[in-house]
Subunit: 331 residues, 2 copies
């Protein structure tokens, strides 16, 4: 399929998204921890998107996309390809409007994740684990059903929806010096850039990216979008390639990237569990890890962090937390 | 030691406590989950005290006690006996005022918990694991230092402080039909009864108590305080005996008790992790378990729950969560 070029969303689109999703999405709390502040040497404002519906910020973008459709468009349903948080988010968003949702998933996807997407009422379409097979299946579903494609991160409605998380954070904690968000495909990153430009232009945007999938860092440094890389990171939500419109928006905004090792991300994940009592995904903990990795950069500043999601594989926890102090205590 | 009879705190004391602890304690968020609502058949309002400082509501009472002292009293410090959340809470509360804190702990207490109490700056005093040895050591510390005893649940300043959690919950979610809190020694329970009587007298108070330590249920049924029992429950925060003033207050208030099996509590703990992304202690999850255990009682009602604490032993999690679906997802 060849979707039409997507126009870049603007700040008005984020404000409209905030109003559109308000009846359906949670306004998540912003948490503080004096212990984490002391460890980081700065003032942290943690936007807790694990407490969002579906357990991740992804519901914001999916919900904005679904409720942006005309009634006629909505009647034909929506389709996407994702075996992760976006698939679940679109499924639930579609259910809030009572419309069909089709999710194309590759063979070999984790059964429990697929069960979660189905539990939200979506129809699964299995395909071979290649990009070509995935796109062909998406196109076929569109032909068969007339469903609207909602891309996980290049769709401007999705970007605008994701930007509402930072919009809420800046409303709660005005005048932050810097906001840190994880970057994978760049939906949250681009939406955050737009929200910051409109709501708090002196706030700096820092993107946290895993060392094993640091193509956003390389692309922004090179001034062109690099897409040839093999991701190798535990941050399963950040293995995707930065989208083309996302690259344009982030380049224009002058976003900075901090590259983070997986070990530092796991350490941050433990800290958030011990000290903020929040179970977050590695793809989410990486934002705190970025702050801890460059203390001089953030020293004494007021730092907002989007904790993006909390859908953790429970089986992985004993390994991730091996050697962690037996009793957790929060300050 | 023979402390003077403690006067029962009133609603004014809770309002004063709320003002007194406001500069130090977090106003914790009230979380909602449509999935949990659907499972419970009622509308749940979850007051998230795992996000309180020290990871539990106990900080409220300890902080109120510490900041109720005159400067002369405060200069002599505070003392308590607790190897759990109250010990850590009093230690941190004392630190917020810059005063000494002594915590009497029995031999055999969990090392990691003691380390946490020490990390907050308290001095540990070890004693034999009997009530007589504990009280003798507390009395000795009082003689030696002039420190003020802050009992974990019979102290009226502690009860008043604990009552601020329900006060905040009722301010956030006015007109709740019922509020459910766990009961052990009865500090939170008594404080909650007073807060409800003053702020929302038509709201019912339900106490959740483990079947393996259900002496509050037995005492209220018998009309007299029963103290002879051997606790057998995973709810380690609820193994204590209901205090005498706590019994009087709860009896006068007409509080109801729901007795909950440990299996149901572990199930609720899993649900809260899966669906609310909150890691809570068994002693905290029991309040949700009580609602799930008696669906007819709560059907269609607006139900507040105090999720009291989140200091979980990480080593116990793999066992507690064995067989739980591999991927957790929240709605």
């Amino acid at each position: 399929m060849n979707p039409a070029p997507t126009p870049h969303p603007g700040f008005d689109d984020i404000l409209a998204a905030a109003a559109r999703i308000a009846p359906h999405a949670h306004a998540t709390p912003v948490l503080r921890s004096r212990t984490l502040d002391a460890l980081a040497g700065c003032e942290l404002h943690l936007k807790a998107e694990p407490l969002q519906r579906t357990g991740a910020f992804k519901f914001r973008g999916a919900c904005n996309a679904v409720w942006s459709l005309t009634d006629a468009e909505a009647a034909r349903g929506v389709v996407t390809h994702s075996s992760g948080n976006h698939g679940a988010a679109l499924a639930l968003a579609a259910r809030t409007r009572g419309i069909a949702c089709h999710v194309v998933v590759p063979e070999g996807a984790v059964a429990a994740k697929l069960a979660a997407i189905e539990a939200y009422g979506a129809t699964l379409h299995h395909c071979a684990p290649t990009i070509a097979a995935r796109e062909a299946m998406c196109a076929q579903v569109q032909v068969d059903t007339g469903a609207e494609l909602v891309h996980p991160y290049t769709d401007p409605r999705v970007m605008a929806g994701q930007g509402t998380a930072v919009l809420e954070l800046l409303a709660h904690s005005p005048g932050l010096d810097v906001v840190v968000v994880p970057v994978g495909g760049g939906g949250l990153a681009a939406g955050s850039a737009i929200a910051i430009a409109g709501a708090s232009p002196t706030t700096e945007l820092v993107l946290a990216e895993p060392a094993g999938a640091a193509e956003t860092h390389a692309s922004l440094a090179a001034g062109e979008r690099l897409t040839e890389f093999v991701p190798d990171t535990i941050c399963d939500g950040l293995r995707g390639t930065l989208g083309a419109p996302n690259f344009d928006l982030l380049r224009a905004h002058g976003a900075q990237v901090v590259v983070v090792d997986d070990d530092a991300t796991v350490h941050a994940m433990r800290l958030l569990w011990q000290r903020a009592k929040l179970l977050v995904e590695p793809s989410s903990a990486i934002a705190l890890a970025a702050v801890l990795a460059e203390p001089a950069r953030f020293a004494g500043k007021r730092v907002g962090i989007i904790l993006s999601g909390g859908n953790v594989d429970a089986d992985a926890l004993p390994t991730l937390f091996a050697g962690t102090s037996a009793t957790f205590r929060k300050e």
